[in-house]
């Protein structure tokens, strides 16, 4: 017994948490997948097997198409804006500026806010009858229009702006850490060769930051798939259903429309999307380690 414990102490110590994960994570994932093959309404029922019918229904629901497309649209724009501006800010802060921690704090501050608060702040700012638009009008520029929130074609930008405002700090911090990790000698060598700074960044430093990019992309991607509170607080899916996201759709189907089957199907599709992002990442990670 004692010898067994000595030899397997790590396994024994890990097994409770493994068991919990197996039940509460994978168990419920399997449960949700099972529910998605039934015609469950308000309560899960397993006596109403319908195969893949809920998935057929899901992809014939116009609102799901809006939500699913929005996830990629919002995700793409959010990644692009946040990474490019986050990197730019990190580079600017990295120039050994005075009061660096002051600027760093300003950029990091929105991170302390919950998405609900962020959503409400931007809802007020972007509201055409009481926000920025009114303020600019009062300054005398009456032709100014900022109707992102009330225009179904541009509402996604409102989400991107709010999400960027919140997520920029984290991205900046990660890039800044990456930049600080770059060997001083590279800069010295480049200076000796007389290469301009922007070329050093584009051809040498940024390629060296590749692992940081990967981390940032994965972190942000997960927050895109999870995004729920931001939409609920900022637009509640409106105008119409134009700013719907899969997570909002899933919640609506489960709790407002009491259609657990359809809701579970959308959850499984969301999980599939996350895996599609995660598996290549894990593949690259494990290959690098090996």
């Amino acid at each position: 017994m004692r010898r067994f414990l000595q030899r397997h102490v790590s396994q024994v110590a890990l097994s409770p948490s493994l068991a919990l994960i197996a039940i509460f994570l994978y168990g419920f994932i399997a449960y949700t997948a099972a529910v998605s093959t039934t015609n469950s309404k308000a309560f899960p029922r397993f006596d109403s097997f319908v195969g893949l019918e809920q998935y057929w229904r899901l992809f014939h629901t116009p609102r799901w198409h809006v939500a699913f497309t929005n996830m990629f649209l919002f995700g793409g724009l959010f990644l692009l804006v946040t990474i490019s501006l986050g990197l730019l800010i990190a580079i600017l802060i990295d120039q050994r500026i005075r009061a660096e921690s002051f600027f760093r704090s300003i950029v990091m501050y929105p991170m302390a806010m919950s998405f609900v608060v962020t959503g409400i702040i931007w809802q007020w700012l972007l509201n055409p009858t009481l926000g920025i638009e009114v303020m600019v009008h009062q300054l005398g520029f009456t032709s100014f229009r900022l109707d992102w929130l009330t225009n179904p074609d541009t509402v996604i930008w409102a989400l991107v702006v709010a999400a960027f405002w919140q997520g920029c700090g984290l991205v900046m911090a990660l890039f800044l850490a990456g930049l600080r990790g770059i060997d001083e000698d590279i800069w010295k060598a480049a200076a000796v060769d007389g290469i301009p700074a922007w070329r050093v960044y584009v051809y040498i430093v940024i390629p060296m930051l590749a692992p940081v990019f990967l981390t940032v992309v994965v972190l942000l991607s997960l927050s895109i798939v999870r995004a729920f509170d931001l939409v609920v607080a900022l637009t509640n899916g409106g105008p119409g259903v134009s700013s719907d996201l899969p997570s909002v759709f899933m919640f609506d189907m489960a709790f407002r429309r009491t259609n657990l089957g359809l809701s579970a199907a959308s959850a499984v599709v969301m999980l599939g999307t996350v895996l599609a992002i995660l598996i290549p990442y894990l593949y690259v990670e494990t290959r690098e380690r090996a």
Binding site: K41, A42, V241, R257, A264
Partner: protein
């Protein structure tokens, strides 16, 4: 998440089970709380104690109730809608009947409420109030300034819009969220094809009706609503929107009668400062919702007694009247006299007595089907789709849920 909570709940149920009667409801704001007090005081006079479990927001409250039921620790009674949501619970065997105290309810209640409060011929819930949805409210001062009467039909309403705009007012105050927009859409359906058409579209989700010429006409009218509202309309909350009407910025608003609470608080009298009309006038249809208390399938005899006492108290004529006076609703009992009620409530009581009540489709139709209709309705309003495209998109989306 819901399913996880359910299983978790089952595991914890034994620890949580109590025998004290517990009541879940979502009446937490000013007028609602005052009304609830009437009920609680009357109930406690029967020698029972009311263990309050308020949850803000109807959806959240129903979620709590459902989770507790799943977890094997049902509340004694909970606020629940009549009709399909109630039947869903009853079919799961989650409700007790209260027929012991409901012998004469068939005579006292409007047929539509009685029918939807019963499962297999037995009452499983006690109705507390009636709220009408398709009300047109008009700011009398604005109407006088423009020099127009309250419109009777949608054509009249749209025709008056130019005059209202010329005087610098917003014709229609609308909060652009789907649950508010559906009141507008439903009143247009009544306007176009009457009660029968509303039934075919919202209850039966009938494909032929959804693609009919009447539907196209309804969408043509609905498309004009886009021009009746102000640019701030999308996603605006109903009470802020109500402020536009109450402060004389907008001429009309279509909203349920709970709006009365807002303008009474602002010192405006219903029927005088703010004119009211079941809209369209002469449509013989008042779309309504009912707050009712459903009785869960508890076995404990004491709790069972508490349920019967509650049902009896809810249907007490004095409680029904005093409750609705504070809540701004009307009593489900048809034999309550009208004195003390405001002119708008009196109109509603007349409609109820005349058999014009029409239970809100949410409580009748499959939630996924009617939900698809609502999604397409709101998508259309916030897009540049033509009426014909709107008709096709809605009919197709509803068909996909079958």
């Amino acid at each position: 998440m819901f399913t996880k909570l359910g299983v978790l709940g089952t595991a914890m149920a034994f620890a949580l089970t109590t025998t004290t009667p517990v009541f879940i409801h979502w009446w937490t704001t000013g007028g609602e709380a005052a009304a609830l007090k009437i009920l609680v005081e009357a109930y406690e006079k029967t020698g029972n104690t009311w263990k309050d479990n308020p949850v803000a927001g109807g959806e959240a409250a129903r979620m709590v109730a459902r989770t507790r039921i799943l977890g094997g620790d049902p509340p004694t009674s909970m606020q629940w809608q009549v009709g399909a949501p109630l039947m869903a619970l009853a079919e799961e065997g989650q409700l007790n009947d209260i027929d012991a105290v409901a012998q004469d309810w068939d005579k006292l209640l409007p047929k539509v409420i009685a029918d939807n409060a019963k499962y297999k011929g037995k009452y499983v819930t006690a109705p507390m109030d009636i709220h009408g949805h398709n009300w047109l409210w008009g700011n009398q001062a604005v109407l006088d300034d423009v020099g127009i009467p309250m419109p009777k039909t949608w054509d009249e309403l749209i025709a008056s819009a130019d005059k209202i705009r010329a005087k610098g007012y917003i014709p229609l105050a609308l909060g652009g969220q789907s649950w508010q927009e559906i009141f507008v859409f439903e009143s247009i359906l009544i306007d176009v094809g009457g009660r029968d058409f509303l039934t075919k579209v919202t209850y039966d989700l009938d494909d032929a009706a959804l693609r009919s010429p009447e539907m196209l006409k309804a969408f043509e009218t609905f498309a004009k609503v886009r021009d009746l509202v102000d640019p701030g309309s999308p996603s605006r909350d109903w009470n802020i929107t109500g402020g536009l009407l109450i402060n004389g910025k907008a001429a009309y608003m279509i909203m349920g009668d709970w709006l009365k609470g807002e303008f009474v608080a602002a010192g405006k009298a219903p029927g005088k400062d703010i004119a009211c009309e079941v809209f369209p006038a002469g449509g013989k249809t008042l779309v309504f919702g009912t707050d009712a208390f459903a009785m869960t399938a508890v076995k404990d005899p004491a709790t069972r007694e508490a349920q019967l006492a509650l049902a009896k108290t809810i249907m007490d004529p004095v409680v029904q009247k005093e409750f609705s006076l504070r809540k701004g609703s009307i009593p489900p009992r048809l034999d309550i006299d009208k004195t003390g009620f405001d002119p708008c409530a009196q109109i509603a009581m007349g409609e109820a007595a005349a058999g014009h009540l029409f239970l809100v489709p949410d409580n009748v139709t499959d939630a996924t089907g009617i939900g698809a209709l609502v999604d397409q309705m709101t998508t259309f309003l916030h897009s540049k789709m033509t009426p014909q495209e709107g008709v096709t998109a809605m009919a197709d989306a509803v068909a996909a849920t079958r």
